[in-house]
């Protein structure tokens, strides 16, 4: 592609249409993309000028890096444009095909009667269970990057707070070592430690440490008998909500 053959006005039109679409769909105006376009337009002018004038030069490495970044954006724009053209071609094919009707007829009776008798082993209840499954609203599959492939299982701070509260309910002080004795992973230890900090802030527990780096003794104060894990600060719970199980599941 010769850069000098690109009509900037056309690219501009297309880009404006491109960034307007989210807007038309009621989404936020893509300000960052709009500003990217200004950079792109400047770059295009830059490139055109450089190509048209033999003396035109790229000045320094920073400029080159910038140009590369703009190239990327430009390449994406061109790619989108290519798909748009292809879509138009495919649309034409679909229209052309709509004029042809396939032979779509039922099997003639003498052949239909040859089909093997259906094996049917569904009771009405089993069939209803099938219907329930088929009719249940399906969760929209997540658009975000999934976490399920991460091998570390997710650990809920809320859940760990509940567990420790139960352990401390008797009123005797327990060392942190004891509190994490059944922790299977480091993540659980971390979650319990974070939970303790939260509970401490709410004055639900007290800490005693006889000497620096000594055993940490944790005691349920009893002051906040009705302390619940949902006392955990909202922003904290919010941040971790992705990793948490619903509270009802714990109680």
């Amino acid at each position: 592609m010769d850069i000098t053959e690109i009509a900037l006005a056309r690219v501009t039109d297309e880009f404006i249409a491109y960034i307007r679409r989210p807007q038309e769909l009621g989404k936020e105006w893509a300000l960052d993309e709009a500003s990217e376009f200004l950079v792109l337009a400047a770059t295009l002018l830059d490139l055109k000028a450089a190509r048209l004038l033999p003396a035109g030069e790229v000045e320094n490495d920073d400029d080159i890096a910038l140009l590369e970044a703009r190239d990327l954006l430009f390449a994406r724009l061109l790619q989108y444009k290519a798909f748009k053209e292809i879509a138009a071609i495919m649309g034409g094919w679909l229209d052309r095909e709509a004029d042809r009707f396939p032979r779509l007829v039922g099997l003639e009776p003498q052949f239909a009667s040859l089909l093997p008798e259906l094996l049917w082993r569904h009771s009405p209840e089993k069939f209803a269970a099938l219907a329930r499954k088929a009719l249940a609203p399906r969760e929209a599959a997540p658009t975000e990057v999934g976490l399920s492939h991460l091998h570390a299982p997710t650990v809920s701070v809320l859940e760990q707070a509940q567990i420790m509260r139960a352990m401390l309910a008797a009123g005797t002080a327990l060392s942190f070592r004891v509190l994490i004795a059944d922790a299977e992973t480091t993540m659980v230890v971390v979650a319990r430690f974070l939970a303790l900090l939260e509970m401490f802030r709410d004055a639900a527990v007290t800490f005693e440490q006889a000497s620096p780096l000594g055993e940490l003794q944790v005691r349920w104060t009893g002051v906040s008998r009705d302390w619940r894990s949902n006392n955990l600060s909202a922003e904290y719970a919010g941040v971790l909500s992705e990793m948490s199980v619903p509270e009802e599941a714990i109680q």
């Binding site: 039922g106 003639e108 089909l115 009405p124 499954k133 609203p137």
Partner: protein, 240 residues
Amino acid sequence: MIEQQNSRDPGDGADMPGTDVHDLPGGAGAALEAILMVTDEPVSESQLAAAVGLGVEEVGGLLLGLQRHYDGYTGRGDGTGVGVSGSVAGKPVVDSPEFAAGQTRVTPRGFELRRVACGWRIYSRSDFAHIVSRFVLDGQSARLTQAALETLAVIAYRQPVSRARVSAIRGVNVDSVVRTLAQRGLIEETGTDAESGALLYRTTHYFLERLGIASADELPQLAPHLPGLENLQDFDDSSY
């Protein structure tokens, strides 16, 4: 009559001003073929005549011509409106003698045009029944696939229902599965949707028999077990 003329030269069409069906490649006979090739139910001569804009008698003659042509005869025959196929020379059978005065044997097709009670329909030729049977049975299973079962369940609990709606609920195209279920006699068509005009489907008596219940009312209730049933309204046909 005019039937011989209109079939002679499809490109010409000058003999029948006002009708364009003769101008199409293959002419009026081909137009009838086009309809017959894609219709499942037999089509009456009057329906065909209305569709191609010709008289019923003329269409009757054209149909007889097609029938003879598929059966391997060509030529004018006894002169009653069979001219359509005259210009359509199939691969001649080399070792076949002349059939009769003015008629030639051509290769019969693998299909035949039959006149049944209420109209005309194209069937596979019975000589090939054993081959067709072999084909039909190849790969057939005595079991319904999971997709077919789930589609059947949706139809059973939402009947009468259009394919588009079942597709929306299941999230996949169900056309082919619905054909299988209909072929197996588990569902049947039951009129069209007043708004969209789409075909509606319901389950059959055979389905109830297989399930061991007397009527669709005896299907176990779903509602208590189905949280958010009202959300199903979201799966409407809006995307169609």
